[in-house]
């Protein structure tokens, strides 16, 4: 199936790190679902493991053929994903509120989790085929289009977390691809200037969410409360933590969303600074490895894909953990491989698969 060289370049350390992070996540989810008293779905851990099985199959599939094949089909994958985003928006619209996912046979499927990878592939395709021309302004038009459409769609959902993640992914890919910093600054400026106009198009509840996002204190029952409880949980964990299954904030139901977006608070409370720092270190090594793969790849497509994925993973971690300790506003971004959630896990594993793929085939020519 694989050539000897591919097998040799297959990054086993990276797989090990991914596995370690996932196991830590499972332990934290298990602890989060132990809480007494309230009606709380106790099957999260089981579902998460089922999702891992599905995700591993998808991962295997995503390394079985050269990443070049995925690049070839990048626009088609991207197009299908856009279609799904549209569909979610339409269905969500008729149901009054925000709707981010489809339900297929009881499993929720969330297209916005996948658009990050689709965008990375599509932009890589363009950058790769315009290798030394990215410094020209006119070659920015297509990438900007590729970025703007899904960005607009996820903002409308509104899935602010994904929208905010798309920005650093896109900018850093352009930066790595050779775009002039002058132009990037110009784009950032244009984006900021056009914000007030975009505001007019938002519906009342979308505006409300954005306002709470900017200042959680205006809704102490919502995210403001979450942040405070999360900070208490993490802070009271101390250096060594209260011990697994012994987190009082967690066990007493004070932590909201503790199996998904605030899973890191459970880790911080129960395993203390030592545990939290270990998780942070594992993610740092993962990021470092991804950046190395990107740097050591001579092929422009591969560099771009790996670089995009590195930034995607790292930004997830930075925003999520930053959110739990109050450095970042609450945007609803999962901690990759740790937070409960099928779409996020599968999308992350696809990204890891592509990373491994680039790593093992980087010097095939």
């Amino acid at each position: 199936m694989f050539t000897k060289k591919e097998y040799k370049d297959f990054d086993r350390t990276l797989v090990l790190i991914v596995l370690l992070i996932f196991i830590i996540g499972c332990l934290a989810i298990y602890s989060a679902q132990q809480a007494k008293g309230l009606a709380f779905d106790k099957s999260f851990l089981l579902k998460q493991i089922i999702w891992l099985a599905i995700g591993s199959l998808v991962l295997a599939a995503s390394i079985s053929v050269s990443y070049q094949r995925f690049i070839d089909f990048a626009y088609i994958i991207y197009g299908i994903n856009l279609g799904l985003l549209f569909l979610v928006l339409i269905l969500g619209h008729t149901r009054l509120g925000a709707q981010r996912w489809f339900s297929i046979a009881g499993f929720a499927f969330q297209p916005s989790e996948f658009i990050k990878v689709s965008l990375i592939l599509a932009v890589s395709n363009y950058i790769g085929s315009h290798q030394d021309e990215m410094s020209s302004l006119k070659n920015l038009i297509v990438p900007i289009m590729l970025f703007s459409i899904p960005f607009g769609l996820v903002v409308l959902q509104p899935d602010l977390g994904t929208a905010i993640l798309l920005i650093p992914i896109f900018f850093s890919m352009l930066l790595m691809g050779g775009c002039r910093i002058k132009y990037l600054a110009l784009m950032a400026l244009t984006g900021m200037v056009s914000l007030p106009f975009a505001w007019q198009f938002l519906r009342e509840y979308q505006k409300q969410r954005l306002l709470v996002f900017l200042n959680p204190n205006i809704d102490p029952l919502g995210s403001g409360y979450n942040i405070i409880q999360s900070k208490i949980a993490i802070g009271s964990g101390g250096l060594l933590g209260k011990g697994w299954l012994n987190g009082t904030q967690n066990q007493l139901n004070f932590l909201p969303e503790r199996h998904t977006d605030f899973i890191f608070s459970v880790i911080g409370e129960e395993w203390g600074f030592v545990g939290a720092a270990c998780v942070l270190a594992l993610f740092f090594i993962l990021t470092k490895k991804a950046l190395d793969i990107s740097r050591l790849t001579s092929d422009a497509y591969g560099t771009s894909v790996a670089g995009g994925i590195a930034v995607m993973l790292a930004m997830h971690v930075i925003i999520n953990i930053g959110m739990t300790i109050g450095l970042m506003p609450v945007v609803g971004i999962p901690l990759p491989l740790v937070s409960y959630g099928g779409s996020s896990l599968v999308a992350t594993l696809i990204a890891i698969g592509l990373l491994l793929n680039v790593g093992m085939r980087r010097s095939t020519f």
């Binding site: 102490p220 904030q249 720092a277 590195a310 930034v311 930075i318 450095l327």
Partner: protein, 573 residues
């Protein structure tokens, strides 16, 4: 340089996270540890009251009152037994009841759990004083919806109940939270988004003695907008008292602009019953009464056979299409034969020779059998729809139904059969497949009375500080001669000797109207009366409907009389 930028940025970010974690977990450990041990964060809700409702004269109909709940923070209790005794004595409840309520608090020991809702004010004051000796006991106030007149106006207001788990998934985006109340019927439902107030809260930190140390966050509450209705509470009260437990509907409207003065559906209910969060016996009774269905609005959300009231449509259509003229006479020998089927008139001996005015006055079936056949099913369908049947009137109440105006197409599509001439004969006297709501009858009568303008019935005239722009009446272009002829017939119904609606007659008011006695497959006949006054420039138009109520010329006509008299007393006529 540019290759280094991204790794550098990411590394610095990770370093910042690490430092922040160290700061929170090592440097600030004592602070957070204390907060965690004392469970020192409390949410104190602030009510965002729901908008009030007023009638056309500014009388308050629906309001909010302060209610007192008993709450317990179980962890802070000194002795459960002591509290049980104390509460049982103060509230006059049995020990077992109090114990059962306290069990709820045990499952969530760290937060105030409401164990008894809505206690008397003096008891609340007594308990409030004792909270010093009873740590863990709290008296909480909150505003509760209050329908000032009990079951008067129940079907105008509708009722509220708590949002369900599944609704919450959708409604969370709009700021709904668990235990929030939401309008389930009436204007409470149709104006939910305007009436609703949004609760706010402060997030506070307390010390170990539960005293507030600092405020951590604040969300301002916002109150709902007040709603001003066109209802006149005095007329509304009269109509509701007339119906009470009777199954039926009464609607009174200004036929010039569609403002509803009273809307009543029986049996009535007391919406206050639904305000408490726990189900009471009365609430269960209301929801389980499948025969009376007191929560269903019979004026707008149910459709019935109209019977002879529908003859107004036939008369108008036939005159309009010149199938009959003002001079056309048909003879009524007491029955009418089509093929081998005999269709009876309600008067056995027959009415003799009559023109359209006489036929309306006498409600002669035989005249309308023949007129209906001359008009034909297609024209009947056209004129019924023109006069507003077959579709919702668009009143600002939820769940209005459209009724049914049958026709050839409908029959083919739903019954897979041709239209038979015998069905046209029945159609002409408002029987057969035809189904109408009392509101539609009222709307038709209003259009006949006001010179052929179909109004849009409505209840709300103002929300907050903004007037509601009313839809202009739609002219349906009936000839003046047609209307004059029909109206004269309707005047005779009430005022001429032997008119079927004679019981509605009031000295000094020129009333016109039409009775209806509709056979139906479910029991005794439905009784209808719909009319208007004054004859020349109508200000009041009404419909009275009694489900299985016997003859339209009896009770409904008498009720109408009572309403007209009251309207005169109130200065409308």
């Amino acid at each position: 340089m540019r290759e280094r930028f991204i790794p550098a940025f990411l590394s610095i970010s990770f370093a910042v996270l690490l430092i922040a974690l160290f700061y929170n977990q090592a440097v600030m450990f004592n602070y957070y540890s204390t907060l965690s041990k004392n469970n020192a964060i409390r949410i104190v809700p602030i009510d965002g009251p729901r908008g009030q409702v007023f009638d056309r004269n500014g009388i308050r109909l629906v309001s909010n009152r302060l209610a007192f709940d008993v709450a317990v923070i179980h962890r802070e209790l000194r002795s459960e037994g002591e509290l049980t005794d104390f509460l049982a004595k103060t509230l006059g409840a049995s020990r077992q009841d109090v114990e059962r309520s306290l069990a709820k608090a045990r499952t969530r020991p760290y937060e105030p759990v409401t164990i008894v809702e809505d206690i008397d004010k003096d008891k609340a004051l007594l308990l409030e004083e004792s909270t010093i000796y009873m740590p863990g006991l709290e008296i909480k106030t909150r505003s509760r919806r209050h329908y000032l007149y009990g079951d008067i106006g129940s079907h105008v207001f509708g009722y509220l109940s708590e949002v369900t788990e599944s609704e919450l998934e959708q409604l969370e985006e709009y700021g709904y939270r668990q235990k929030d109340l939401i309008g389930r019927s009436g204007i409470e439902k149709s104006y939910e988004s305007r009436l609703r107030g949004v609760d706010g809260a402060t997030l506070i930190q307390v010390d170990s003695k539960a005293r507030q140390v600092r405020t951590l966050g604040m969300k301002e509450p916002s109150s709902g907008e007040d709603l001003y209705l066109s209802i006149d509470m005095r007329l509304e009260a009269l109509c509701d008292k007339m119906l009470k437990e009777r199954r039926g509907a009464i609607v009174v409207m200004d036929p010039q602009n569609g403002q509803i003065l009273a809307l009543s559906s029986g049996p009535t209910f007391d919406p206050n019953v639904f305000v408490k969060s726990k189900g009471s016996a009365e609430r269960l009774r209301l929801m389980k009464d499948l025969k009376g269905r007191p929560l269903s609005n019979r004026a707008t959300s149910n459709s019935y056979e109209p019977g002879s009231v529908f003859k107004v449509v036939i008369a108008s259509g036939a005159l309009e299409t010149k199938k009959i003229s003002v001079n056309t006479h048909f003879s009524c020998p007491g029955s009418y034969t089509l093929g081998r089927t005999r269709f009876d008139c309600w008067k056995e001996g027959g009415h003799g020779s009559q023109d359209v005015k006489d036929a309306l006055k006498n409600s002669c079936n035989v005249f309308f059998y023949q007129t209906g056949r001359a008009l034909g099913v297609d024209n009947i369908e056209t004129y019924a729809k023109l006069l507003g049947f077959g579709k919702a009137c668009g009143i600002d109440l939820p769940d209005e139904v459209s009724g049914l105006v049958p026709g050839r197409m409908w029959k083919r599509f739903y019954k897979k059969d041709n239209w038979y001439e015998g069905e046209t004969v029945n159609y002409a006297i408002g029987q057969g497949y035809l189904l109408v709501t009392p509101l539609q009858i009222l709307n038709m009568m209003a259009a006949v009375s006001n010179g052929g303008k179909l109004v849009k019935p409505h209840l709300a005239v103002r929300i907050g500080s903004s007037n509601i722009t009313q839809t202009a009446p739609r002219n349906i272009n009936l000839k003046e001669r047609t209307l004059k002829e029909v109206k004269t017939g309707l005047f005779n119904v009430v005022n001429a000797e032997h008119g079927t609606g004679g019981r509605a007659k009031v000295e000094g008011i020129s009333i016109a109207g039409k009775t209806g006695t509709a056979q139906n497959p479910r029991g005794p006949t439905h009784a209808w009366f719909s009319g208007f006054a004054p004859f020349d420039n109508p200000r009041i138009c009404l419909v009275v409907f009694l489900e299985h109520g016997g003859k339209g010329g009896l009770e409904p006509a008498e009720m109408a009389k009572g309403i007209f008299e009251e309207a005169k007393r109130l200065g409308y006529l």
